[in-house]
Amino acid sequence: MMTTKYDSIIIGGGPAGLAAAIKAKELGLNVLLLENRDVLGGIPLQCLHPGFGLHYFKEDLTGTEFIYRFIDKFQKMGIEYFTNAHLTEIENISDTEKRIKVITSKGLQTFTAKTIIYATGARERHLYEIGVTGKRLPGIFTAGEAQTMMDVYGIMPGKEIVIVGSGDVGLIMARRFALEGATVKAVIELMPFPGGLTRNVVQCLDDFGIPLYLSHAVTRVEGDSTVEKVIISEVNERLEIKEGTEKEIKCDTVVVAAGLVPYIKILEKIGVVKDQATRGPIVNEYLETLIPGVFTAGNALVINDLVDHVVEQGELAAFGASEFVKNEGIPTRKWKRVFRGRNVRLLVPHYVSGENDVIIYARVSRPMNKVKVRFPEINKEVRLPVVKPAEMISIKLKKEEIQRAVDRITMEVLSNE
């Protein structure tokens, strides 16, 4: 077994991990990156659609183009990495020493590092988590599996498609199937409003004449040996099934785009504390979890809708790791807790110090027009024309502003009308 000590080991070779590795190396850290799949790039690699990099590169790129800019840079910098590396265990030996165990085709390997940046992304919610009953038939896929099949390995999952969930992932997959010549019979959304960005509703559904059923639930999947139809019903304001509204849609494939959950199993095993709202770890402004030296970024931290935010978080975690390595720990002694106020469903980071400017990433519970985002303790107010649960809000707080708070800051989203 090999043993090498790194400043930082980055787990996950998607956008958060690659951005973190590049930034950490630029900041002078000795870095290793581990990827579980056989390719670097993570999910953007299989995103053939545009809309990536509008903020980061000020260009409209496909996911594949976007991520290749990072992969190319990463490889040019000669950063050490493994693909097909399966992480089995993290051991928190001390604040400044983490040991991690990995299975690779070269054998079991153990590495130690002062810091870890955990950037493993998310896993998808599947059909049984959203209360759909019926048979467990072939022809049911999560959106991610369908996308990997099609756009990494070139396998077409089916011909007549029903998509469950109208978040961006569901919308984009609807268009992807339509572009492949499949018939997308319907996109089904439980809420009375679409889950994804407006531009995606227009470009992915309207342009292709794909029907969107709002306030509808898939209740059952039926078929003999493969999927033959789904049964849907209308729901009321309390999201309960309205009797007598049942309808069936014939299809051979059900694609479940029912949302993502941060994939942090191994972090939970070492006692990282989870936020029930984000389902990711509780972090401070360096994106350090409550275990010193363990940082997180991207969808493992909070479900993002823009890869630009994911990359930003990766770079921030790398900055955190470099501060940690320099000071043998994050030197901050006094933290101020950031609380969720009215109409804020989730936010990160959870702790700020006033030593740095901080971007607060947040989501609202309900859509609202003409709002003011208020931070009453520091007398800050930002006006926004519209907020939606589907669109992450990111607001920068300057360190001077944060310093005004005594020990807490609340964020709330109120109507300005």
Partner: protein
Amino acid sequence: METKKVVVIGAGVVGSAIARVLSKYQNLEVFLLEKNIDVGWGSSKANSAVIHPGHEDDPSKYPLRSKLCVRGNRLWHSWAEELDVPVKWPGELMLAFSERDVEKFQYYLDLAEKNGVPDVKIVYSDELRELEPNASPDAIAGLWAPTAGLIAPWDAVLGLVENAVDNGVKLFTETEVEDIVIENGIVKGVQTNRGFFEADIVINAAGLYADIISKKAGIDFDITPRRGEYYLLEEDVQPRVKRIVHQVPTEITKGVFISETVEGNILIGPSAENLPLDAKDDVSTTKKYLDYIWESAKRLLAKMPPKSSVIKTFAGLRAEPPSGRWIIEAYDNPKGFINAAGMRSPALTSSPAIAEYIVNELIKNKLGVKLVEKKDWNPYRKGIKKFKLLDDRKKEELIKENPKFGNVLCMCKEVTEAEIIEAIERMKKIGIKTISLDGIKFRTTSMFGWCQGSFCRVRIARVAANYLGMPEWKIFVKDNKSSYGVGYVKTFFKTSQGDGEV
């Protein structure tokens, strides 16, 4: 010495156990027929996985059930070891929530004594909490049966079939019995979609379809599909249960069980719902019964694991005979026909004892067949080595020998490429014609975890297709009608009406 031909219909746990016992004799030629593409895919695949102690069946009402359950429980200790099937013995706690429940305990204590189930006793307060720290505070007492166990039921079937085939049994999958051929009241064989199988003895272990098979032999009864639904929870969820916890049974059902499976997941269920006679494949789940199970389970525990830890819901069908009595019989007419039908609970537990009973009581005694034991019968079978469970040194060695052990394909259950390939090789070895992803899943536990295959299924499909030399999309999922995909991308733009191959 005269050789007899035996056809066993159905490669579920009962048919496979019978085949294994029959494989001990040198003057028998045994054919195990299965209509599905793989073995153990009926009731044996989806059930509570409990090895029951045997103190819940009244011998005056159910003489075979009570006798064979206790014997089966004992036999599984040695069989599981011989066949390298994961099993554990956590014991079972029936919880009482009222004085009336406690009064019922006396009934089960009497049965325990009559049936010869050891060490069953009533436990209260401290002892109860010590046995099961997560028992509901409302539980005033428990009936403790320490001999209860848990098994991986599909592994049990695989162990039985692989061992039986190793000892000379011939397995025919995708072979559906169309008729039982009888001449002058004597069995001559079975007609199937794959031709005629001559036989002196035909044993009907066709599970839910045993009534249809039996009718073809002129023996009439109905098997009711009784559906049970379940929740499977992720491995690391808290809080857990130490024992098999359940409620006081009713006439219909033994009630909802909560246990930690041999794989380490929490299993909750079943419900009990009689379906129409022709609904022999309806393994749909329903909101109504899933809600009922969750509510029932809540009553049993001090603290339920969160519902967000559910990784799947599923349903299985039990083969319910008229008035609950197993039909394990050999007949004077047609002679040579044996039923092992209506194999409701505790059939999984009892299957080794049922097999023994059929061979000793029915074939030897009733039919008067003289059996000669093989000298070289091999009782042992090794399961696919689970890489995840090995120690680091062993893992290192294996990767050095075969780097495919270093390629973890299923993240949740840590299943390697080498194990996937071994599963395929094993399927081929016992004669499976249609290699399916479900076949791989049940042999390796890949795609069984938290992500339910959404990360790894495509990678496993690729490895399997590559190994078999076929396009990835053509790999079968559950049966030989359900391919993983419909073609390569762009397939719908091809002008030819081809099948999508590039």
